[in-house]
Subunit: 214 residues, 2 copies
């Protein structure tokens, strides 16, 4: 009996997560209330989000965690494979491919890329999401690998390029996800070639000479 | 008398534009209603936006037009100066600097960069905004200059890199504007050096070799 109750609890939790991800992806985190998430998930209790997750902030982080474990695992595996590769492309791939491969593994439609684009554009949510999804151990290791192989860059340029890379990955994936969902022709035919385009461009960003400082 | 009335009309219009830009920049276009814009602008008539602009779509485009004339003029002047320069940096500068110089000319605080980041992330507004602000004659000329000097790229890669460049410019400018507004240390100390960092990175993106197609 107590197991049955907990199963139902998990099902409700799962349903709320999937519903919130979709609504946030389509309308933005600000535009959707916890109450609307509960209603759209068919919960008679309008406080279901509060009961299962706490604040909207906590809900956003819970959605990120649903995905970040798989992304992290893929990155850790890739890092183990490239060990101490002297090729910058290998390290840049470890930034890009864990996310694109995760998205490919979810089938269609996905909402996560658009969700991430929304929350990382929003000042109130960005910091926690970035901490959850980007400032992980495997991501730090990857970034160290890139910095070892990129030309020597001033600290503010490192930060700038790292941020630019994140922007490119997040928004290009969101763009492709949206095109797939709307049935319009996506710019690239597969997640694999989306990743290839991103890796090419990001290698270009990291190798670009610095002509002026501060 | 009729002049006075029209002056007041222009003042109201101006006030609504400034208020809408600020609210859209801070909360997103979706989260703010025309009624809230009218109220925040101190209009007793809640339909002031409708009366002066029409739909929210029209209001968004009107805000873009407030700025795009100055941005366009700067770009046209820059293009006249570089004429047929063989240096890719000059052409990439014509993408970046007209916006950063316009933002610098507005003093502080500005809202336009965050406004543009919000509307270009939003599927419903993006197309019209991109058409207004990006698909202009001077921008087309600039892009042609870049493509003349960049290595030969497949059409989908051209589009992809052009889109990546837009993302980088819009979000880096929005980021800096937000930091200035919140009084936190912006990554670069001036709009001028923000532009320099963007030009460096964008030249890297355009020169990056293509390793895989579609």
């Amino acid at each position: 009996m107590s197991t049955g109750k907990s199963d139902r609890g998990n099902e409700t939790r799962e349903l709320l997560l999937v519903t919130a991800e979709r609504l946030f992806a389509e309308y933005g985190v600000e535009a959707v209330s916890n109450r609307q998430v509960s209603e759209a998930a068919g919960q008679s209790n309008n406080f279901a989000v509060g009961y299962h997750f706490g604040t909207k902030d906590d809900l956003v982080v819970a959605i990120v965690r649903c995905h970040s474990e798989s992304v992290e695992r893929r990155r850790t595996d890739m890092l183990a494979e490239i060990t101490s590769s002297p090729d910058l492309r290998d390290w840049v791939s470890c930034i890009v491919r864990p996310l694109t491969e995760h998205l490919a593994s979810l089938g269609s439609p996905t909402w996560y890329a658009r969700f991430i684009a929304q929350v990382t554009t929003h000042p109130a949510y960005r910091e926690r999401v970035v901490n959850e999804a980007v400032s992980t151990r495997s991501m730090q290791q990857t970034l160290e690998g890139i910095l070892r192989l990129a030309p020597r860059l001033p600290e503010e340029v490192r930060q700038e390029r790292s941020y630019m890379g994140r922007l490119m990955i997040v928004h290009m994936c969101a763009e492709r996800e949206r095109a797939l969902h709307e049935g319009t022709a996506p710019p690239r035919s597969t997640w694999e070639s989306t990743a290839a385009g991103l890796v090419d461009a990001l290698v270009g960003v990291w190798l670009a000479p610095v002509t002026a400082r501060r």
